[in-house]
């Protein structure tokens, strides 16, 4: 090696590298909170709905920001440098998981923040413990965009929202032990609000949210209430959604399986031929025939999906096309999780009851 050249090169490199520690101090001083004596946890979430739940659970002890917006397809968010920078100062990175936000890994890795890498306490997979639906029995690409761990749109079942909140509360409690009691109390309040919103206050007082949740998950709530002569006491979203039970509703993508399971409507077919693959003309005709044969009143899709096929089918069959947000935020006029579920249930019931 030419010694002179090498020395010159190293000297030049050191000029580049010298500012790094200084920059680190100034950057960290400005953006990154310390972990000792935490005043508030810095939290980033992949989805706004997770930010909303985290806010309910964390209350005044956290500061939270979502990396995506509610009108973006959560599968395909661009992991830009701005998102990486947002994640750089975070103590907690919350994702739904189940391979929904593959871009999240790129953001976490690009942030250079060791606290939020996979396996660290600051990396929270909120869907842990959720009983996933549509677990594929065979994993092949021939089936389209398959999620190997099951359908990831879990938050559209309010009972799953309680699990997401529980996982978030546990993470906050570990990372910020002095406020663990507050997080647990906030979690209990959130769970109670979900129970009341889902079953109605009277029934929750009479039976208890835990038991109602178990009965509902087991598909035995209606039967139980009939046995006990308490059917009239059912309130909340479930009472409101009564007209949906057993109704066939066509969806664009496999987005609404958890919503359908909780509120009892059927999804006989998706407009997409296979997950992530736009419908061919043949598939569109297949859906058209099914809508007519089964008397489908409603076509439901997430706000970020293309409306071309849905509009065509609605026009041909007279079904209502509902293009609704599945996440929360000002951009879509949905302030929080409760408003999100209110909106979905109300729009579906309205569509089903006003069909000619």
């Amino acid at each position: 090696m030419n010694t002179k050249t090498t020395l010159r090169t190293l000297a030049l490199s050191s000029l580049f590298l010298a500012p790094v520690p200084a920059l680190a101090r100034s950057v960290d001083g400005e953006f990154a909170p310390g972990t000792e004596g935490i005043e508030s946890l810095e939290v980033v979430t992949t989805l706004p709905v997770l930010a909303d739940i985290a806010k309910d659970v964390g209350g005044e002890f956290i500061h939270v920001a979502a990396l995506s917006t509610p009108n973006q397809d959560p599968h395909y968010v661009q992991p830009t440098p701005v998102l990486m920078q947002k994640a750089r100062g975070a103590d907690v990175f919350i994702e739904c998981g189940l391979q929904l936000e593959l871009w999240g890994e790129k953001v976490a890795a690009g942030s250079g923040n060791p606290k939020i890498q996979v396996g660290q306490p600051g990396r929270v997979i909120a869907s842990t413990g959720v009983e996933t639906l549509e677990l594929p029995t065979i994993l092949i690409r021939e089936w389209g965009d398959v999620h190997p761990y099951g359908n990831p749109h879990v938050w559209l079942d309010p009972l799953n929202a309680k699990i997401l909140a529980k996982n978030i509360a546990e993470a906050f409690s570990k990372l910020d032990a002095p406020h663990a009691d507050a997080y647990r109390a906030n979690l209990a309040e959130f769970e109670h609000r979900i129970d009341v919103a889902l079953f109605g206050a009277d029934l929750v007082d009479e039976i208890g949210g835990r038991k109602l949740a178990r009965l509902s998950k087991g598909g035995r709530l209606e039967e139980y209430l009939e046995h006990r002569g308490l059917s009239e006491m059912l309130g909340g979203w479930l009472a409101k959604a009564a007209p949906l039970r057993g109704r066939p509703i066509v969806t664009y993508h496999k987005t609404f399986i958890y919503l359908a399971t909780r509120f009892g409507f059927e999804i006989p077919i998706e407009i997409e031929e296979k997950p992530g693959i736009p419908p061919s003309a043949k598939q569109r005709d297949r859906v058209l025939k099914l809508i007519r044969d089964q008397g489908v009143h409603t076509i439901l899709q997430a706000v970020y999906h293309d409306r071309t096929a849905g509009t065509y089918l609605a026009k041909e069959t007279g079904a209502h096309l509902l293009s609704e947000p599945i996440d929360v935020g000002e951009d879509v006029g949905i302030p929080d999780y409760f408003a999100l579920m209110d909106n979905l249930v109300s729009k579906l019931v309205e569509s089903e009851s006003t069909h000619n």
């Binding site: 090696m1 010159r8 030049l12 580049f16 973006q72 920078q85 842990t128 035995r220 706000v303 951009d331």
Partner: protein
Amino acid sequence: MHSHAASGLAFTLAILATAPSAHGQASDSETDSTAPPTVQELLQRIERLERARDADREDFEFELEGLEDDLSRLESKAGVQTQRSNVFNPGITVFGNFLARADDQSVHLDDDPTAPRIDDQFNLREFEVDYRASIDPWTDGVLIATYESETPGEANATIEEGYVIVKKLPVLDSAPAGLKLKMGRFRPNFGRFNQIHTHDLPQPTYPRALGTFLGPEGYIRDGVEGKFFLPSPSESQTIEATVGLFDGGELPIAPGESASNLSVLGHVKWFKDLGKGRDVELGVSGLQNDSDHRVVGLDGTYKWKPFEGGEWKSFLVGGEFFQADLSEAGLDSSPMGYYLWSQYQFDKNLYFGVRYYHAEDLTDASMSTDTYGAYLTFYTTEFFRLRFGMEHSTSDIDEIDGRNTALLETNFIFGSHPVEPYWVNR
């Protein structure tokens, strides 16, 4: 589960305890009224107790069945909750890239008349296996083995990239300024297209301008590189810097240089989120092989990808400029080159793009080549792509001047495709 059973039992005991008490109260009241209970009253009491007992039994039955359901669910879910694992195997992706070309004149490899002809041929030009995994809490590893072919039937097996990224050190809780240290063999952070592999290119081939200065497949070298954030003026902007040291030589701008003369690389990138799915990025790069062989680059990209329906429509426009500063006999002192390109997405699977590039010859800057091209890309899914392109070149080099080329590219991927650079749509 135990608490449910216990509360149920407590509830039953409470009912049973209440029943005699109620009976006792009734007896007291009846005693007060000095009248013994009638048969009718006793029958009613019995009926009330039976109803309470039946309701309680139903409660227990539901409890038991619920527990049974819970148990079966837990049993069926055993082992399902692991959402990530690369303990036993890394994430593996296989890429295949096939190119067919038709030309209206003979074309030689690297436009060297003594090299083999490549016109009017099919060629599996790349077959790549990508392995990646976390190595331990501090490092991630990537290994990309490539079988690449410039002429049909002749191929080289190489390690295109093999590196570790050090995310933090055992002695530090967190890396300063988000520093990520990359060590091994990889594509150094120079400009735009040099960062991406052939199969991720939004065009059928690398632009000639890039190939002229950095090599036909881009600049790939062994070395070490650090990437970190600089303070940014606002939340919607970032400034990232990269510095690197690499083995020297083996570059078109420094053909005869030794690998032992370390090259120095610097790159600064400014990114701004303009809102509503629009962003702009500008970069400046510099690479010094030694004081006699340097190249600088400028790059810019604007992207629009709306939030709603962003998978169906998008627009990209960008360009990159190269200027070399050379002091070597046989090379021109300051050759330059650049390319401009744009791409519009018509629907989920269909893209149309155009590009133009200008490249001066390194040995004689007065000799340049200009190429105009258009291409249409169709994806069945992100795992399979067809691309058709047409190009026309004018050049001061006779072998290239007036050349018309049609290109048909097929790209296929199996395995867990890693996410592409954020500005590449597919």
